[in-house]
């Protein structure tokens, strides 16, 4: 079965700091990878996704992620965070083997201090 590991469960940064959230997955075949964000009191929404092609993908609000196949990683980055980036961030992998749905990591709670 697939699994997704997010290494940092709680991250606290100051505004303008750079951000990198780690994500590793276990599946060795073709994968579709996602980062979702949940702002306080709001729905989960998609930040960015990788299906194929350029391993560096850009998403909304200045976020980007790099797919490194050899490391089974899909780390999320942002060069300069803002207070409004305070949220819960989830990495997810599209399930393979004919089954449907996403496998999620446990999430990273990011707090940005003004």
């Amino acid at each position: 079965a697939q699994s997704v590991s997010q290494h940092n469960h709680h991250v606290i940064l100051s505004e303008a700091a750079s951000l990198e959230l780690g994500c590793n997955y276990s599946y060795g075949g073709t994968v579709n990878l996602f980062w979702y964000v949940q702002y306080p009191g709001q729905h989960l929404q998609l930040l960015l996704k990788y299906f194929s092609g350029d391993p560096l993908v850009k998403g909304i609000k200045g976020f980007e992620a790099e797919f490194i196949k050899s490391k089974f990683s899909f780390n999320l980055r942002k060069p300069s965070v803002q207070w409004s980036d305070t949220a819960e961030y989830f990495c997810a992998v599209k399930r393979g083997g004919g089954a449907d749905g996403l496998t999620f990591g446990k999430g990273t709670h990011l707090i940005i201090q003004p």
Partner: protein
């Protein structure tokens, strides 16, 4: 505006009651999903559907059941709620590449 809706948003109920969590979407998507999320934990897939009259169980064993009589509607039912069912339940639908999530129902069973 196309969206995905869940009702109720919050539900506190006693043990043994039958409950139905509603999910509907106006995006015309065939694929729909239910996830369960305990506080501070990952989302786990409990049910999914490829379309009308299609229902499948997900990774996490659940005592809940689902039905899909109409494309836009994917309700989840617990015949007899127990405290172990206390959790957040998230509904999602999928277009070609992306899953869209509803706001969730936070269920507390006393």
């Amino acid at each position: 505006e196309a969206d995905i809706y869940q009702t109720p948003r919050y539900l506190v109920i006693g043990t043994g009651k039958k409950i139905t969590l509603e999910c509907s979407q106006t995006m015309g998507h065939d694929k729909m999903y239910w996830y369960q999320q305990d506080p501070g934990m990952e989302l786990h897939l409990i049910h999914y559907s490829y379309g009308v009259n299609s229902t499948e169980k997900g990774d996490l064993s659940s005592e809940s059941t689902v039905s899909r009589i109409r494309t836009e509607h994917f309700p989840l039912t617990l015949e007899s709620a127990r405290p172990s069912h206390t959790s957040q339940y998230l509904c999602a639908s999928r277009g070609s590449n992306e899953q869209f999530f509803g706001p969730g129902t936070r269920l507390t069973v006393l």
